[in-house]
Assembly symmetry: C2
Homo-oligomer: 332 residues x 2
């Protein structure tokens, strides 16, 4: 017999969706990962529904026991309405995903952008080790973006876009980015960009992933080393910017590209050391211990979603679902 207070978290990605169910003490009761189907909104809803049902089955629980649901979604999210916009990877232009899930499971459902959600998870992870109050979580995968926690709370910004560093111009004459601008950070520091840079230097190379490039660099491949150095310098500058603008206690790095571990981290630390040698200010602000790497076996996205569900369920402001008039507790 389970408690009647289960929290469900989902990390909804373009290719797969992870679901996690915990009790109020964060004890894991069930977790699954399923492929994401994005042909139309109904298929996406079916993906999410099945992921929750499969996780409930693993937890030997029923949907009646769900206290609340949290979802991290790759797009622009309005937490007050549950509407998702511009979720290109989910094939959604504008869709009331929160109300739809809330209606299916008759449980309050809370949405946030996926990287902002992962920042909550990264913050909670770090808090288990040290009493930090402010972090910038940088996710480096298909793209690069940050989520920022200040004074223990997620900083969303006016449009929920705070931390969208992937589209900061770093090379005005650089490659065209998906966003329409040239030389965005994302055209250099992100998985596809790393593969692209490798193939630009060595067209015959059969690199399949950023991990392959980092692996080749540690084995002495000159082309891979050139790419890794360039990526690390730009990432180091992004870290410097985040520290200079937010003055946060820690920069936490996560996402697929960081899973190369030492091969990923060592060149960044080398670049930070170079800056410290040049500048007193850098020596004070850019210390190695500022950086923290999320281990590959911790998924900050799905943990952040669980904690979003848990934290938000104590808020008291309500909204009316666009679809069915049902009410859910939501934060303004």
């Amino acid at each position: 017999m389970q408690a009647d207070q289960l929290f469900v978290g989902l990390d909804v990605g373009g290719t797969k969706t992870a679901a996690l169910i915990v009790d109020p003490n964060d004890v894991v009761l069930g977790q699954v990962t399923v492929p994401t189907r994005t042909a139309n909104p109904d298929e996406l809803l079916t993906t999410i529904t099945r992921a929750i049902q499969a996780a409930l089955a693993k937890a030997n629980a029923t949907s009646q026991q769900i206290q609340s649901i949290g979802l991290g979604v790759p797009g622009q999210v309005n937490p007050a309405t549950g509407i998702v916009k511009l979720a290109v990877n989910l094939n959604l232009q504008t869709f009331p995903l929160g109300p739809a899930i809330s209606a299916r499971f008759k449980a309050p459902t809370f949405l946030e952008n996926d990287v902002r959600t992962a920042a909550i998870g990264a913050f909670d992870y770090l808090r288990q080790m040290e009493p930090v109050q402010s972090i910038a979580y940088v996710s480096i995968g298909t793209g690069i973006a940050a989520g920022v926690v200040l004074n223990g709370r997620l900083h969303r910004g006016q449009n929920g876009m705070a931390g969208e560093i992937g589209h900061m111009t770093v090379e005005p004459n650089g490659h065209l980015c998906n966003c329409g601008l040239h030389g965005c950070l994302e055209t250099i520091v992100a998985g596809p960009a790393i593969i692209h840079q490798m193939k630009a230097i060595d067209p015959k190379n059969n690199t399949q992933s950023a991990g392959d490039v980092y692996e080749a660099a540690t084995q002495g491949n000159p082309a891979a080393q050139t790419v890794v150095q360039r990526v690390s310098q730009h990432l180091c500058r992004a870290i410097q910017w985040l520290i200079m603008t937010y003055d946060v206690e820690k920069i936490v790095l996560g996402g697929g590209v960081t899973h190369s571990g030492d091969a990923f981290l060592a060149p960044i630390l080398g670049e930070l050391a170079r800056l410290r040698q040049q500048s007193t200010l850098a020596a004070e602000l850019l210390r190695d211990e500022k950086l923290h790497l999320i281990p590959p076996d911790y998924n900050p996205g799905v943990w952040g979603a669980v904690h979003l569900a848990n934290q938000m369920s104590t808020e008291t402001i309500t909204y009316i679902s666009a679809n069915d008039g049902s009410r859910s507790s939501l934060k303004t």
Copy 2:
């Protein structure tokens, strides 16, 4: 007969110090500007003391009527101890300026970095016109730095350094900056840097100020136009970064370089328009109305200092002066 609740604000600069005295309704009772003497800490204390006394005299008031004093200081400030560090322009390495002023006037004294203080003043200025909650104030003068107000409160960061964008690397192979790094934003977008760039293109030009360069550009001088275009592009990128990282409602521009008015603003708006044409994301986030120019006759630094004094005097946490054991109300 004046009220017994006067608030004193000071904007302490490397060359001049402005003092302002207001009543609790922000009615101006006295204001002065005096040259700053920085040969040693005692001379600086004398400067500040005389500025306050001169402003009191204009207000027909005595020091007994002072409720509290606020100071904006160009350096790293610890508000909890009143100690100033690394104030190069004031010739102070480490000095307990807050306790010293507090002891002289027997009034609670509150310190903050000058740009952070001016951000409070800029925020209050904008609030008189529209109900904003979050701004980034960018000061462009001898250097460039930002101060950030989020949810109506100053965001200081862990070390009180949030917004130090002047030392973000923008050209890794660029000019050596005072901080020791190469190609900091401040080596391009700041008064001395603008003069330097003008003389680099046209060594015979007798430009004395950034204002001269902006003036020459509007009159068709090609060298000046090249410099203004370069400065505007870099400033536009800095604005883009601040919006992408903080997602604030407004970017407020102030400081000596901005006093060229339209000659300063027009090329920035042109650059923003260019980015909007290229990108949907830029079109959404980088609208003209995001920018606000502080008029030259409003000094956000000294108004911010007055409001610092006013706001902080309602806080209840106390600290013990390093010099004389006197207590002042201070925020942690």
